[in-house]
Symmetry: C2
Subunit: 197 residues, 2 copies
DNA sequence: AGAAGGAGTTAACTTAGGTTAATTCCTTCT
DNA sequence: AGAAGGAATTAACCTAAGTTAACTCCTTCT
């Protein structure tokens, strides 16, 4: 797969966000990574100050608490920008790892180089702003769900939002995404099964 | 207060974000609003597709659940951009109201006009991106807190993050910000008082 | 000064979800 | 085929936080 083909993925992504721009203009040095199912693109605590683009596959952002419990922050399906905005922007260690849930292909760019080109190409910068708007809105919805909705409701919303994941990923990961234990999720599923007759 | 003075507030804000730019270039039509303590800049459910800048004062974002319970999503202190990113970008109704906790002064711009100028001024667009990065990171930290930390820990973190608010705003609002009831917060405070001796 | 209303506290009771552990059911490995 | 390890379920018990309600302070209003 050559660079031209890879960069077409960007266009697919930004078209979805309602934006049309020629990503072949991107000349920043690029690395390509193939990550097998189960492996990590980077681990929590690394300095992951790169911007990644997920060309194919599916990943999750996994964060481990002080007590050693795993939480899934995000499921990300290609095509999509992935990585830690916070780690890039503040030059700190990442607070989560990225694990492949399917074999995945990723290109990467140093944040410095990517940012430098964006600063001189208002189209790219606009794309970046649209990306930030999108991920902010998703986080805001998630905050809303945690504060206002029960675990049962969060599970139902998850199933509606990710119908294709609902049956193809381990329930533990779904539980950790909606902020409960696998045991609690199992109880909720049991209850729903009964109430559906 | 004239426009020049007001626009200087923008500079104070973006300086804090590590960015130096002359906001006197902003020529978009501006409205000025004075909101008294307790009043709302806009209500949940409005079409609040404006960008606001809080020049002085303190506000909170308040969201009411289907069951009629109030949640405080954000406390915002001047100088700062305020408003609903989601409502502006997706042209939907706002999911929260903005209430003044002190008498406040706000300028406002239609999103369309503001965006149009940004698209032709890469400096403004970069500021906007920095603003989005910042609010995203805050939301991400909040998500993290809800999933990983106890209510007690969230309260202590709130006190550390907003020492000046801790004693000057009603406890109900603090409780609703950390996602618990006033009764539960009162219990936590009692427990902390005892354990401090 | 007295009344009214809101904010915070405290107590009693309920409930959702955490914890631990046993059991079953799958894969996968040899 | 049998063993081993992980995933989900179920049950029993525990804890944090919600709910309701009574009580105490404060303001603020007349």
């Amino acid at each position: 797969m050559d660079r031209t083909q890879l960069q077409n993925s960007f266009e697919a992504y930004f078209n979805e966000l309602g934006y049309d721009i020629d990503w072949q203009r991107l000349t920043v040095p690029m690395d390509v990574h193939v990550i097998c199912k189960g492996d990590y693109l980077f681990q929590q605590g690394d300095f992951a100050n790169r911007l990644y683009f997920l060309h194919s596959g599916l990943v999750r952002y996994v964060s481990v608490s002080d007590e050693g419990k795993e939480f899934t922050q995000t499921f990300a399906k290609s095509p999509r920008i992935i990585g830690s905005t916070k780690a890039m922007v503040t030059e700190t260690r990442v607070l989560f790892g990225i694990q492949a849930l399917e074999d995945s292909m990723v290109s990467s760019y140093t944040w410095q180089a990517f940012y430098a080109q964006m600063r001189h190409d208002i189209g790219f910068l606009e794309c970046y702003a649209k990306f930030l708007e999108r991920i902010f809105i998703v986080k805001e919805e998630r905050e809303n769900a945690f504060v206002k909705h029960s675990a049962e409701r969060r599970y139902l919303d998850f199933c509606a939002a990710y119908p294709e994941l609902k049956d193809s990923i381990p329930q533990q990961q779904i539980a950790s995404y909606i902020g409960i234990t696998p045991v609690a999720l199992s109880r909720i599923r049991q209850k729903l099964k009964l109430s559906r007759g």
